[in-house]
């Protein structure tokens, strides 16, 4: 111990006698002084590089990192837009979208779950176990199992807790009025795009624009802040149609009854509002249920009122006669010799049902004389007749804003031969659609002017276009009334108790492959208006290929018109304008020509 202590003392002494550590010459390294400066410089440069890099990332090129940072806590949320509702003129809903969900699966994961769960899933999705397995037997990682599944089913599926099953939000369109209204409203496909009728025509306004929003989400997925870079979603606009549910229902049921009674192939009916040009009803039969289109056929889908053209037959006579009266060539009392019921032009013969002899122009309409109308037509230049047809819309591309509406066909007047001019005057050799026909009758129901048709509710009346003189329209209305109530009228079955009605029957042979079909196939039609004292509705009915009981327009279409008019007038609270009497229709109502 002692020695050790001495030793330590000794060394301290020695150190104190020597020089300090820092200045010890032994330790002094002989290095060139530039080396330290190089190190200093290198270190400085390294710091400078870091500084510049930091400046670069912070100040100049900061976008990338900021974006990366944001994507850690910011989320974009899709905001769906609902398709607009479609309503009738009284606000009753005709088409409406409800949120539903599409069920999709990752097949690999789903197939791992126990079979009884899969069976339960198949049951909920309304398919057999085999069907479900067939869908899952796929290499893809995303398979739709079923689309547009309603919410209560989704909840049950969620309770099954099968791995690999997920849902996606979408919308399903419901049509509460079903087959009654479908030819007016149309339907959408699974992607919410309009496919038919107004759903298709108004696709642009009905469909909304989806929006999005940027939000900050917390750890638990709750939205804590809106960053306000979003786009507002805009729901589709609601659409108010011109159709009246009540009248539409009446039209559909009456039409259906008529088609079934005469075992016809099909039928169509349309009701127009005389004052506003609105289409109050547009019915077709056969029809379909737009909510379940799995068994939809082309015949059901067909909107005959709009897209089928036919030779109108006698319903066209009033236009020829109105033109002759308007130009002062004839008056309702002008006598015309229709002879024995046969009239030959060049090599073709026109015939009436029987010889009417010398009759007045009014009676030509009342008895529906082909010869009378032909003689009147032949007294006029073909150009004038063509202009009349064109003005009322025949052969013209319709501007209804309704998909599939056809123009019909009116040949240019320069190519008309006299026999053709004669047959055209009573509606042969010309083709029109039922809606065109109904619209053309508007000028008789109004005082000689027409207004455009509308499938949407009209709040402001469109400007009218004068076609014939008011006096001519008035005279024609009297003639049309005599067709129904006159002694020799061809449409006695169109009478309505309590109301004065008028109209014109039409029967035409169907044209197939450019020729008249053999054996003869008929289209019976009736276009009329009610009540006559101040027309409110134009009603056009067409029965396609009636096979039993009868085939003349006065027998198949006129009674349908009467039933439709009676119910529609009552439904709209229009007071009766004639004495209420029991109507007795003679058992063998007069047949009409063609």
């Amino acid at each position: 111990m002692k020695r050790g202590a001495n030793g330590s003392t000794g060394s301290r002494v020695a150190a104190s006698k020597g020089i300090s550590f820092t200045t010890s010459p032994v330790l002094a390294v002989r290095l060139p002084s530039w080396r330290s400066r190089v190190v200093l410089f290198v270190l400085f440069v390294a710091f400078a590089v870091l500084g510049v890099r930091a400046l670069w990332l912070q100040g100049v090129s900061n976008e990338f990192l900021q974006k990366q940072g944001k994507s850690r806590y910011e989320r974009t949320i899709e905001l769906p837009a609902t398709r607009g509702k479609i309503m009738d003129r009284n606000g009753q809903v005709l088409a409406l979208s409800m949120p539903v969900k599409a069920v999709w699966a990752i097949p690999e994961d789903v197939l791992k779950s126990p079979p009884q769960k899969l069976r339960a899933l198949a049951g909920l999705l309304d398919m057999s176990d085999a069907e479900l397995r067939k869908k899952l037997d796929s290499d893809r990682t995303f398979v739709y199992l079923k689309r547009q599944v309603e919410m209560d089913v989704i909840e049950k599926i969620a309770k099954l807790d099968i791995e690999g099953i997920d849902t996606r939000k979408e919308y399903k369109r419901f049509y509460p009025q079903g087959e009654v209204m479908t030819h007016m409203v149309g339907f959408t496909n699974v992607e919410d795009a309009g496919q038919e009728s107004m759903e298709l025509a108004q696709q642009k306004t009905l469909v909304g624009t989806t929006g999005s929003r940027r939000v900050i989400k917390d750890r638990l997925g709750h939205i804590v802040e809106d960053i306000g870079l979003g786009k507002e979603p805009h729901d589709g606009k609601n659409l108010t149609l011109s159709v009246d549910s009540k009248i539409q229902y009446i039209a559909f049921t009456q039409l259906k009854a008529a088609v079934e009674k005469f075992k016809a192939k099909a039928g169509g009916a349309v009701v127009l509002d005389v004052h506003t040009g609105e289409v109050l009803a547009l019915a077709n039969y056969p029809s379909y249920n737009p909510n379940d289109r799995s068994k939809l056929t082309g015949a059901q889908l067909r909107n005959r009122v709009m897209t089928d053209t036919f030779e109108p037959g006698s319903t066209l006579k009033p236009f020829t006669v109105a033109l002759a009266m308007d130009s002062g060539r004839v008056t309702p009392n002008t006598r015309i010799d229709t002879g024995s019921g046969r009239f030959t032009i060049a090599d073709r013969t026109i015939s009436d049902t029987k010889g009417h002899g010398v009759i007045s122009v009014a009676q030509v309409i009342e008895m529906s004389s082909n010869i009378g109308t032909s003689k009147i037509a032949l007294s006029m230049p073909s150009q004038e007749m063509w202009e009349m047809f064109t003005k009322v819309g025949f052969g013209q591309a319709p501007k209804f804003g309704f998909p599939g509406a056809v123009a019909g066909r009116v040949r240019p007047y320069k190519s008309w031969r006299p026999i053709e001019q004669a047959t055209m005057s009573y509606g042969n050799g010309i083709s029109v659609s039922l809606i065109q026909l109904a619209r053309a009758y508007m000028m008789f129901a109004r005082d000689g002017d027409t207004i455009p048709l509308s499938f949407q509710r009209v709040d402001e009346l469109p400007p009218a276009q004068q076609v014939i003189k008011p006096k001519t329209a008035q005279a024609m209305r009297e003639m049309l009334e005599s067709v129904v109530s006159g002694e020799h009228g061809t449409a006695k079955q169109a009478q309505v108790a309590g109301y004065r009605v008028g109209g014109k029957t039409g029967t035409a042979y169907k044209v197939e492959n450019g020729k008249y079909a053999m054996p003869r196939k008929y289209i019976g039609s009736f276009v009329g208006m009610a009540p006559m004292s101040s027309p409110r509705f134009i009603i056009a009915v067409m029965i396609d290929e009636p096979t039993t009981l009868a085939h003349f327009g006065g027998q198949v279409a006129a009674p349908t018109f009467a039933a439709l008019a009676a119910n529609a007038l009552r439904a709209m609270n229009i007071p009766p304008d004639s004495a209420v009497t029991e109507i007795v229709v003679p058992a063998d109502a007069e047949a009409e020509a063609m």
């Binding site: 609902t82 509702k85 009753q92 809903v93 005709l94 409406l96 979208s97 409800m98 949120p99 419901f174 509460p176 009025q177 079903g178 009654v180 709750h222 939205i223 804590v224 802040e225 809106d226 549910s245 009540k246 229902y249 049921t253 108790a497 309590g498 109301y499 009676a566 119910n567 009552r570 007071p575 009766p576 209420v580 029991e582």
Partner: protein, 90 residues
């Protein structure tokens, strides 16, 4: 003098900081409330649409006619069976 100013500024700074914390807290609260109410508005919209759908389905003319005819034994009105009254007439 300058110490005093510093102290005042410090107090102000702390106060501002606390106010910021408080307003942020309030903003979050209000935002959550807003979200909740918007969600509710959406749900009410859906409910309303469902009710409109139900109304239209139940108010279908076909259904009304069927119930009127079969359950209630009603028949359509015809002009022959109607007495029309006109105001001002004897």
């Amino acid at each position: 003098m300058s110490t005093k100013i510093n102290l005042v500024l410090l107090a102000l700074l702390v106060a501002c900081g606390l106010a910021l914390v408080n307003s942020q807290y309030q903003a979050r609260h209000l935002f959550i409330e807003l979200e909740r109410l918007q969600q509710r508005a959406r749900q009410l919209d859906i409910d309303w649409a469902q009710l409109q759908l139900d109304q239209s389905t139940l108010g279908k003319n076909a259904r009304i006619e069927q119930i009127a005819r079969t359950d209630l034994d009603m028949a359509p009105l015809t002009p022959e069976r109607t007495q029309y009254l006109t105001q001002g007439e004897k």
